[in-house]
């Protein structure tokens, strides 16, 4: 029954990741799409090979989490967020973030203007759709910082689509900047029709980082350096020319539409252009992001004790990456 289901899922994940002839695998966070234009472009143009490493990119899906596949050894590298690395370490899996691309939260919260909601303080008596299973913690932290008790807000667990919000099942919807928000615009909504509840710095969990295990860093530092360098290079080019990058991305997933992918890559650029990136330090990890993430996890009782945050990330490989890959186009 459920054991069969879970072992089928695990088996599929393993099968997906055990097929490579490549020495290293990089598990993306979702299907092949503009969200991962950097690694995809780097693979297509041979940057990983140039840097001296043989990498295979593997897509994920609703049931495959890179933090799990990398922790269990099925994959070498993964794309993820500080809270995932912290949870993993708290549960005994020694993951380490080696580069951080996104410097803002990947998610924001939209509502129609007519709901009358103008800021988080207006939430009591209204409804919000969130992605449960970990991604809801950001909004719950926002409520808590605004002094609002969760019982005053109707919180709905939403699926991976905007249909329920279009049907007005709930008023505020959690969206990613690069996926659901462009979908909302494509449905005809304009920025002027919408209200955005953006997480403040103290509440946001940055997204889109590259991680691996302590073992890989100890045993294979050359491969780790190569993957860090080549991925930075891929991203720099993708952000500089989103259209050319999108043309490469759609070759890897026939379900994608070119103009949607261009939008997605541009949205990724927006995510990157904050924090260290604005100082010419694209790809650098910062301790404060981990402190924010850990506090959110502890307040939500997702982990029960603090960990040594300094071990959760390292800039030792980023430091040695070529300087020209650390400056990207931010408009």
């Amino acid at each position: 029954m459920t054991k069969l289901l879970t072992s089928l899922i695990a088996g599929t994940a393993l099968a997906l990741s055990l097929t490579p002839a490549a020495a290293e695998t990089l598990r993306l966070e979702w299907v092949m799409q503009g969200q991962f234009a950097g690694p995809i472009l780097a693979l297509e143009k041979g940057y990983y090979k140039d840097a001296g490493v043989d990498v295979e990119l593997l897509p994920a899906g609703p049931d495959i989490k890179p933090s799990v596949t990398v922790a269990t050894g099925a994959d070498t590298f993964g794309i993820g967020h500080p809270n995932q690395v912290i949870s993993a370490r708290a549960n005994g899996a020694p993951l380490v973030m080696i580069s951080q691309y996104g410097q803002k939260s990947a998610t924001t919260y939209v509502a129609r203007k007519e709901t009358g909601i103008t800021s988080i303080k207006d939430m009591p008596g209204h409804s919000v759709g969130l992605w449960f299973g970990g991604d809801e913690q950001e909004f719950l932290a926002m409520l808590s910082r605004a002094g609002i008790d969760q019982s005053q807000v109707q919180i709905v667990s939403q699926g991976y689509d905007i249909i329920s919000w279009l049907n007005k099942d709930y008023e505020v919807m959690q969206v990613t900047l690069y996926n659901e928000l462009p979908q909302v615009y494509r449905q005809g909504f304009k920025k002027e029709d919408l209200v955005f509840l953006d997480p403040a710095e103290e509440e946001s969990i940055v997204s889109g980082g590259l991680f691996t295990t302590e073992d890989e860093i100890t045993n294979n530092p050359k491969a780790v350096q190569a993957v860090v360098d080549a991925t930075l290079r891929g991203w720099k080019e993708a952000i500089a020319d989103p259209k050319a990058a999108a043309e490469i991305v759609v070759k890897y997933n026939s379900e994608l539409k070119l103009d949607e992918q261009i939008d997605q890559i541009k949205a990724m650029g927006e995510l990157f252009c904050a924090g260290p990136t604005l100082k010419g330090e694209f790809g650098k990890s910062e301790l404060k992001n981990y402190e924010v993430a850990e506090k959110i996890l502890i307040d939500a009782k997702l982990i029960d004790k603090k960990i040594d945050l300094a071990k959760a990330f390292t800039n030792e490989f980023w430091d040695k990456a070529p300087a020209e890959y650390k400056t990207i186009d931010c408009k």
């Binding site: 459920t2 799990v68 922790a71 993993a88 449960f132 970990g134 919180i155 689509d161």
Partner: protein, 274 residues
């Protein structure tokens, strides 16, 4: 109806002990297997130092439950409710439709191909659609389990009602039995073995359906716990939820099997008890 044949060996002790002897004989082999398996598993984890996030040891799984049982039991209750509600609703609706099919073969011929086709749609494909239609609460999960429980009962009820002994039916005609008498005293009892086959299938489908529907979208239930634990690498908790869902399925199945034994003592499949 033929009465059960008592096996010769039990005849001598066919007393108040025979029930408990039978149960004990059935229970001790699986119990011993369980204990041996758990001990071997625990030993293997320790001997090979397998990390807890690859395969937790039985002790870790037990602790994940025992350290904080109340929320897990709450989630189990939600999943159990979704499974049972859908099971009852779907089985009832299916039984009604199956009866219509048995009495009106033309309708059966018209709808059966589509019913059979719909029955082959995997639940992972159907659950997201049902959730879009029925919203985000328990209702959508019950709708999924109802959908899954509907077809097996419709088909089995129809087959069961068509499978009566024609010779015995002649006796009913000769005795001038009317429609309801023929249905309740002849056709329905003949259909019950088929119905119970369908019900036992539905137990499995409704538990799986509840868990899968929760995978797709939920904020409560064992499927939700499994997904959340997976995403945060809290593997002992994931296994604890898995074990609990298996237990729900086993207990539910045993319940239906027990009801079947009570309802159909005359059926040949129950006549070989030790």
């Amino acid at each position: 109806m033929p009465s059960p044949a008592a096996p010769p060996a039990a005849a001598a002790t066919a007393s108040r002990f025979s029930w408990s002897e039978g149960t004990l004989a059935r229970l001790w082999p699986p119990a011993v297997t369980f204990v041996v398996a758990v001990v071997a598993w625990q030993a293997m984890i320790t001997a090979f130092a397998i990390p807890v996030y690859v395969l937790p040891a039985p002790a870790d799984i037990w602790l994940a439950f025992a350290n904080n049982p109340v929320p897990l039991l709450g989630h189990a209750g939600i999943t159990l409710f979704e499974a049972i509600a859908g099971f009852l609703l779907g089985s009832l609706l299916g039984a009604v439709l199956g009866t219509v099919f048995a009495y009106f073969p033309v309708i059966a011929r018209g709808f059966l191909p589509y019913i059979i086709a719909a029955n082959t749609i995997p639940v992972v494909a159907v659950a997201p659609i049902i959730i879009i239609w029925f919203g985000h609460g328990l209702g959508s999960k019950v709708a999924v389990t109802t959908f899954l429980s509907f077809f097996p009962l419709a088909l089995n009820m129809m087959k069961g009602l068509q499978s009566y002994d024609r010779t015995i039916m002649d006796v009913f005609h000769v005795a001038a039995a009317n429609g309801p008498q023929r249905f309740f005293k002849m056709r329905l009892p003949s259909a019950l073995p088929y119905v119970f086959v369908g019900l036992k299938l539905n137990v499995t489908f409704s538990v799986i359906g509840a868990i899968v529907a929760e995978f797709v979208q939920a904020d409560k239930g064992l499927g939700f716990v499994i997904m959340t634990s997976y995403r945060t690498l809290a593997m002992p908790r994931l296994w604890a939820a898995m074990v609990m869902s298996a237990l729900i399925g086993i207990v539910f199945f045993a319940l239906i099997a027990a009801i079947e034994r009570l309802a159909l003592p005359w059926h040949s499949s129950h006549q070989d008890q030790a």
